[in-house]
């Protein structure tokens, strides 16, 4: 028997609002199935279950804010029967007793209302039902503008809550993690030349971005690193087998989300690009999964095409490293014995000194540089 509970989607999360069920009583579920949508300070998240079996009972109704750990559904494995009531007080006292004792809630509306995270958050603030709004986004997705149109005048800042969540996580990080930083500027002219030549021969759908090649190189290097890819929890570091780099995605209208690209160390540059494209699209449309929110093992934050040349980033706990990538710059560079103009990019790795030392981070940066040297100008 398994109780599916309100998950913790980050150390700073205390409660979440169940927005909708994507399962009903009697449904079969498998490990990894998306079963519910939960609204958090990070936006709407598709939550996966880690149980296998049949949904015996839904214990919580959409629309309520519930503490992390609250049982949401009872899932029985093949051949199991409903346990007697006294087997259930696993539930924290006071949190769900009424819901658990209540009859099975009415069958939920099947099919989610597609909405962007900003739209969901705003609609919740205003107490508007998303299902009653007409979506003007692609495929009828409800976007922020639709909610604002339906909103009464005068509203607080929609991104304020997300900023609070980011502030809490970053404050904790700087308080608890002894950060140190190593920086190196790399000549990426051959990578840029390779990329320009590649992209000139393929249609837009198959073009690659520099960001994907950098992420790919970081993932391969992270897979070799002994201490930078993983989590620091309960006073010790646990290295992760897979490399799930979190990608910092800025949302228009404010805020950041950091979904992880699961298993990036096994991907080709093309697969990395496709994965990034999918993650960014779903981050903006409010369709990230819980495993993507919680599964990060290292983070990559890139400033984009133009702007500042370097960034010393703050580690996302419980991870132990983050790679800050500045915008590419054209700079005088020594190649052979000549000074020539080259495209360069500056990487800054922030690492947790409880776990790593400078030598290990230097090695990591060297491994990234080696990966990038595999691209040769045509």
């Amino acid at each position: 028997m398994g109780l599916f509970r309100m998950p913790s989607l980050g150390a700073d999360m205390e409660a979440g609002t169940l927005t909708e069920w994507l399962i009903a009583t009697g449904d079969r579920v498998a490990r990894g199935d998306v079963v519910a949508v939960v609204e958090t300070q990070k936006g709407a998240i598709e939550v996966e279950c880690f149980e296998e079996g049949r949904v015996e009972r839904l214990l919580a109704e959409p629309g309520r804010e519930l503490p992390v750990g609250t049982p949401l559904a009872l899932i029985l494995a093949e051949g199991e029967v409903v346990p007697p009531p006294e087997a259930e007080p696993e539930a924290e006292p006071g949190t769900v007793a009424p819901a658990a004792a209540a009859p099975v809630p009415p069958p939920p509306r099947r099919g989610a209302v597609a909405a962007s995270p900003a739209a969901r958050r705003r609609a919740a603030e205003l107490g508007l039902d998303l299902a009653l709004l007409t979506g003007s986004g692609p495929g009828g997705v409800v976007v922020l503008a639709d909610v604002e149109r339906a909103a009464p005048a005068a509203q607080p800042q929609p991104a304020a809550e997300m900023h609070q969540a980011i502030a809490a996580a970053m404050t904790r990080s700087k308080r608890e993690i002894p950060h140190f930083y190593l920086t190196q500027t790399l000549d990426i002219q051959p990578v840029q030349d390779w990329l320009a030549a590649h992209n000139a021969t393929v249609p837009p759908e198959r073009r690659l971005l520099l960001g994907a090649l950098l992420l790919h190189a970081v993932a391969l290097a992270a897979a070799r690193a002994k201490v930078l890819n993983g989590r620091y929890e309960n006073g010790r570091f646990q290295r992760a087998d897979r490399v799930n780099p979190g990608l910092v995605v800025a949302l228009r209208g404010g805020g950041l989300v950091v979904p992880a690209l699961i298993g990036a160390e096994t991907m080709t540059p093309e697969q990395t690009m496709a994965g990034m494209r999918d993650l960014v699209a779903r981050a903006r449309a409010g369709r990230l999964r819980s495993s993507e929110i919680t599964g990060g093992t290292i983070t990559v934050s890139a400033l984009g095409d133009t702007g500042a040349e370097a960034m010393s980033a703050v580690i996302f706990p419980p991870q132990v490293a983050i790679v800050g990538i500045g915008a590419p710059q054209r700079r005088p560079w020594v190649v052979g014995d000549a000074v020539v103009p080259r495209q360069v990019v500056t990487l800054t790795v922030s690492a947790d000194h409880r776990v790593a030392d400078g030598r290990q981070v230097a090695r990591f940066i060297e491994d990234i540089a080696t990966e990038l040297r595999s691209y040769e100008a045509p």
């Binding site: 900003a118 986004g137 837009p204 699209a281 095409d305």
Partner: protein
């Protein structure tokens, strides 16, 4: 296609890529990256959408020519003409 039709098609592609933009509030002189905050991924998705919708394959070297909706409409009219 008339310029108005091209403009409509461009704004449709733009709001698909950036659903939180309000097409009515986008002006011809808005810079896609600086003013509308599109990043390189958004620009690539926009170029892919224009390829799909209008059949115009915009090479990377021409990206500066679609830097604003006004520039883009003129460029697309030239390519379609």
């Amino acid at each position: 296609m008339t310029k108005d039709q091209i403009r409509t098609a461009f704004l449709t592609a733009l709001t698909q890529v950036a659903p939180d933009l309000d097409a009515a509030a986008v002006s011809d002189d808005d810079h896609l990256q600086q003013d509308l905050e599109l990043d390189s991924m958004d620009i690539l998705n926009l170029v892919a959408a224009l390829h799909r919708d209008l059949g115009v394959d915009i090479p990377e070297l021409d990206y500066p020519r679609i830097a604003t909706p006004g520039l883009a409409v003129a460029y697309l009219a030239e390519r379609l003409g």
